[in-house]
Point group: D3
């Protein structure tokens, strides 16, 4: 099954050694972006993957392509042009100090691209799975059109479509996001995360309003069923994260498939690099679905994939299937 | 309200990556010193601050001044002269291994300065708040005279005077410290920390003797009241630290103001850099007092200021008021 | 004499250890910008300096202000606002491999600022010297208006005005630059560098056309005199650089003052950091003029100031007057 | 009491900053090897120590000898020759991600050495204590012969002999290891760790089979007594490790001496460097036995020695007796 | 034109900051190998390239494949198996101190491979150019057979075959190398470097004996013609290196094509990383031949390709055609 | 022949990457001291060496002893006590920027030692060669007495005594140095360097006054003969250094032995680490004299020893005899 994702390649500059931005003079550079992370993580699981994006003609963008290629991600659909590579500065938090992102991604190449210049039928026809996140339409009006065109093309070609709403309050407001993203849901087979998707009851009241950050099984089962009534997804999944501190979290997940809800075991972990944790859940989920794992194994595998990502530097989960499965079986001794 | 502190600028050399001194060949350099840390932390909260100190005429001392200036601390009252900048080597502990300081601060410029050459009335007249700690008089006989002169001048100019006794057993013995510091208490408005200040009952017995490291509210209330009977402070505050390990502590604080005692919530945290944790409590306290926070918010703000400092590299709390308040409200997600 | 410069604060990200951008994953961050460099370098020579600029409200911009303050540069005239801090990626060349800059400075805060919101009379009135470079008007139409307003205000307040044309081909074309910059010359007292300023003979032919990169004394004397006939500068200076390789250059300079031309001795040097080399010439020149050095010492001092900058990491010449003068007298032994 | 150990000097290359091997381009190098670690740790406790080994004639091997000498370990019995220094790549795990070792130690100099060329009587005669581990015979057939010859020589010279079975599944299989190592037990006085030593009941069933990873006191007492019935050791000791995660463990130990069993207090700790943790137990034990500590102090001291090692970079426990004893008394404040 | 090379992937560990191996504790890791370097360098020039090799199944070998893929080199013909990845430690010299390599490549996977398991017809059929060097047959008898089989298959498929004799005295002796390599010459179209190939006159005397390290044009012309008489190459090329120091060299080259000899201009350069300098000559040469450059441009381009490699960290020349051509036109100013 | 030197162990803190002290926040630590460097360098040549010194009882001093032991230097005569380890900050210059040392060595343990507590007869009796430099008596009056006592003891025991006057203007003035050091000359066999030793003609005029920094052979021959007339040395040697820049020097040397003068070839080199360059000349000279090299080889070997040291990080020449001899034969190719 060949996979493609569509999204922005982002450069991340992080001060070294947990320094604050205001005091740092050396930075690590990582490449990522939500959809890119899913592709790279899937490639590490052995899936044939590709990314569609737009990056400028400069050496920093060249470096981002080298990163993708090093993981075996096909870059042939990445267009070169526009003015700049989106970037952000990430001050990595630890303990009681939260991480803080300074965005500098406006005017990026993909946000300015004219979607008329892109023939998504031509691009997508050799793939069986498309993944997009809600960050792409948040970038610009151009990107909203581009996202919709891509989703429609995918549907017409019968690709499996997964979508992670991924709301970013620094990019757009919640109301707009909800309206735009909900419109896309008709093209989506696999929904990863449930916010900010419209789910109104008969009186126009949002059913998810007031939902606990840590909902119980019955509540999630109820919400999933309501979502499916409305949008008719094949699969819905979401994670629930407890943040004991910036560097210690617990994660569990819920999965809804064939009318049934499953929940994973909860995993607690210290954090080496928080970025891409959610994307590693998505990649684990897509992989499990591609491999037709049982639902229980699917939700456990996706959760373990996410958990282990938090212990790895960089945005992507460069972990093999064997390593993820070993975590499910646990055991922390040095292998020697 | 313009603030000045008086104290030694110390260079700290720490092995990188938690190496032991006996094995290290690369070191990080940080500048600090208890009173300097309070000034730099206050400057980061937006207070107009200055430091009085004495440093030699060499480029290492120049670097220490650059550090102060980078945070907006006024250096115009820092005298140049003497033989050396005080320094210490700090082996940073972690987990069950404690940190260890090798002092090399003897013969430092400030310890040798002739206090007759300093006109504290002239220096202090443009400030409204003076802070000193018990480390300064511990440095040398010269510094004891200097401290007393400064306190008297401050009093005569009607400055608010805060004092942190900060006992250091490698610099002087407990008895001497207690006698000297207790004599200064007549000039002090805000006392931060209660040891090693004399507090005898009618029989000449020290009331604080045998006081638990983790006293309860009533005990602290009693001690505070007794201290105030004797010394008539405006404010007394102290922290109580539980050391679960060298890299994980809990902190809470008690505050006595207007005859009433308040205690903060307890904050537990992992430690990135332990140095300056106490000074960040002091800076948080002074800021809260300057801003006329309510007593409960004052003690919580000062405790949060101290806690968050432990997650920041360097001696000072380079954290904004907003970030400290956010910690009080908690939430550890990446801001993006 | 109080000095102010107007210009953009730029962040520079450079791969560590001479790596190429395409292979780098750790970067050093330096702050600079042509006019900023002149201010910081002058501050290191002991001059009271200030910078006017516009930077966004984020922590990276905070860091840039900390940099200025650490050198004692006054930041009170730096406005906060706009979308982004201009930045560039610098691949540092060495030997036969040239350095390469990837600009990402479009849409920076200063380039978007509305010059109507700035009262330059109010800002400049406490200074005696204004410095601007040709990079500022190259940033945007807004900045061209801003530059002209600043120059006019300076003139009306009788400030000494120095100007470095500093042509950047990645920002605008030569013809536009020449037209715009030449118009500013009426406000300029000290011109540093002679391109791309109009200098036509009677037939409208550019006299500097075809001028050797390494002109002799008589040619420079002739050009200077012609320039002065037309623009009536107080001082003209320029450097001539021979590039033996990316890491080894020679530098000499010519100075025209009171109708007379002087040339410096030539200095050959290996390069640690090329950026800011020209700005260090300017700062050396301005300092020498402020201190009323003799013309020969002026041109030698400015040249040595530039040469020594090439051996220092960062954009600015953090070298004292004594160190520059020692270079003129030479001697390379360790001082111990 | 002069101590000598026999074993392989191993080079360990570990990616920096917890990177995975697949992404790393800079590595830290540490020297070690189980028996070497015991010698270096004992030297740090003040014992006169030596190592017998074989390393090739190249500069990497020279570096390994410099390491030994820096700790005062005598290297005069280290032979030079053979083809290569054994090495391994260690991907350091953290949190829920386990460490992983890639061995590249085949064909190492010691594994190829002809034991006929070695006169162990001559070598061992000036020592009172010999230590070997089960890794040495696991390296090659040559090394099995060498180990046996050394043990016999030690016995004939009346040295105290300690042995750590140290089973490594990547080097040999459990059955072979058990057979070979059990044969050596007749020469052993102090056994550190009980697997994979034969301990059959009358029916030929292994008594240790099915033994809990976390056995209780009575079970250990029973096993120790049975072992002593069979092999007649002077001392048996073993640690029990609970792995809460790759970076947080608890450790306790059991000791059997003079027919009596003792257990240590349990110590929980975060891990800076896991390698050599077991060897630091052995060195602590040997030191305590050499110093004739009481049994309870012996087992506590050895356990604390192991625990503190986990907080130190490198393979050996470069901790003084005072520091280990301080841990037993606890207290995590900076010493200043 | 699709290119494939056959050879060993080598890991190189170099102490950081020009430290000697005897004192280093941190190392940089680079992947290379003569034939691999040619492939990676060609890929950076835009050629479709592949490598045939054998590497073990471990994560260090995985990392080597990631390196190849990051440059777009196809790794589908790289077999997994055998015991170890060949490696060496490189102490980088500088100035008057030479570099020194400690080889540890014996028993590497490719050296042990059974060439009967490889179907070179099947592998090579989709390529038009094969490159091998004399290092491969130096590794083992197996590799000599493998090399010959590959050369024969290439010939039968009509591939262009280039060969770099690349004599390594630490791997085999000169006489053996000369005999083995000379036998291969019948399959070679492009010879890069002329030693240690047999070239006897009528009396059996080696014509190249006593040849100056710095031969003049006529001598080279004569040797080239004699070589062609004997072996009938399409192209012969060689470089001549003058070593002014370990960190400063000059390079020029001679090319013989269509019966005519050409020599390049000489380029002098400082050295950042010496490894792969020769391979970058080969890649430049092959690229020029593929692109049908004129002979003079061919030899200049190849020489510039080699020269610029010496300024780049890592084994391969990650330089574009434009950058190489720019060097031929020179100019060392920052491009901004 | 067993060697001992007497002197101060100095810690050197240098900013990394050629940063200036005023901007650095990470430092490398090296241990050295002129006499220590000679001992360590000789140990690397295979000589049995020891150092007499006094260092405080702290972990930084422990680290300095580990450094000595790692090179095989015997530390049994190093006394523990006093207040501090002498140290200095070295800003490493490059190109036209000179290095600059900030001394902080006052009150060091050795400078305060009471020489009555030392029995030099007891210490020196097992050695055949003693080396001291003029830095030791420059430290304090105590050290002057100590130096004289040591020299007398050595003489009485018939040791070969070498002395390097090593004038340091930051420690004492030239006149005092000359008077004190000249008095020691009666005990000296081998003088290394000729300043600031008294050499007056009949009229009391200093013969060396006005001597060129780059004297010719005849001048040196004359001076040497005059020195020998007065002091009756066995050997006199001195180097002549030309400083083309802070990072490029040339070195040659003159040797006087048995009434004859010899000069070495001149070696030009780039500098990685300048410190200890002179001490490596001394160690090369002493080694050559111990090995009874011919005079010409002696002076060439000592000069090469010094030259190669400049390419090695750290204070000592960790170079083997073979490597030094290879430099004399030259050749800069990688050994592989």
């Amino acid at each position: 099954m060949k996979f493609i994702s569509i999204g922005e390649i982002l450069a991340r500059f992080s001060p070294q050694n947990f320094e604050k931005i205001v005091q740092a003079d050396s930075y690590n550079l990582h490449f990522g972006g939500a959809e890119v992370n899913v592709a790279v993580s899937l490639a590490n699981l052995g899936v044939d993957t590709s990314v569609f994006s737009v990056v400028p003609k400069n050496t920093l963008a060249d470096a981002s392509l080298r990163y993708l290629k090093s993981h075996g991600v096909d870059t042939k659909h990445i267009k070169r042009g526009g003015e700049r590579l989106g970037l952000y500065y990430l001050e990595e938090g630890t303990s009681i100090r939260p991480s803080e992102a300074v965005y500098d991604r406006k005017y990026s190449s993909i946000s300015q691209v004219d979607s008329n210049s892109i023939d998504f039928i031509e691009i997508l026809k050799e793939y069986q799975w498309l993944h997009i996140s809600g960050i792409t339409p948040a970038l610009s009006e151009n990107c909203r059109i581009l996202t919709e065109k891509a989703l429609k093309a995918a549907k017409s070609l019968n690709l499996m479509v997964s979508f992670d709403p991924n709301f970013r309050s620094k990019l757009w407001d919640f109301e707009t996001a909800r309206d735009v993203l909900s419109r896309y849901m008709q093209y989506v087979d696999v929904l990863v995360g449930i916010e900010p998707i419209h789910l109104k009851d008969g009186n126009g009241k949002e059913l998810k309003e007031g939902l606990s950050m840590n909902p119980n099984f019955d509540t999630m089962d109820y919400i999933f069923k309501k979502l499916n009534e409305k949008y008719n997804f094949k699969v819905i999944a979401r994670t629930v994260r407890e943040m004991h501190s910036s560097s210690n979290n617990s994660l569990k997940a819920f999965l809804h498939v064939n009318g049934q809800t499953f929940d994973s075991k909860k995993i607690k972990f210290d954090i080496v690099d928080r970025v891409g944790g959610g994307d590693a859940f998505t990649s684990g989920l897509i992989y499990a679905l591609m491999e037709h794992f049982e639902p229980q194994k699917t939700v456990d595998f996706a959760t373990a994939s996410s958990a282990i990502k938090h212990t790895i530097r960089g945005d992507a989960n460069i972990t093999s299937r064997e390593e993820i499965e070993r975590l499910l079986g646990s055991g922390f001794e040095i292998k020697r």
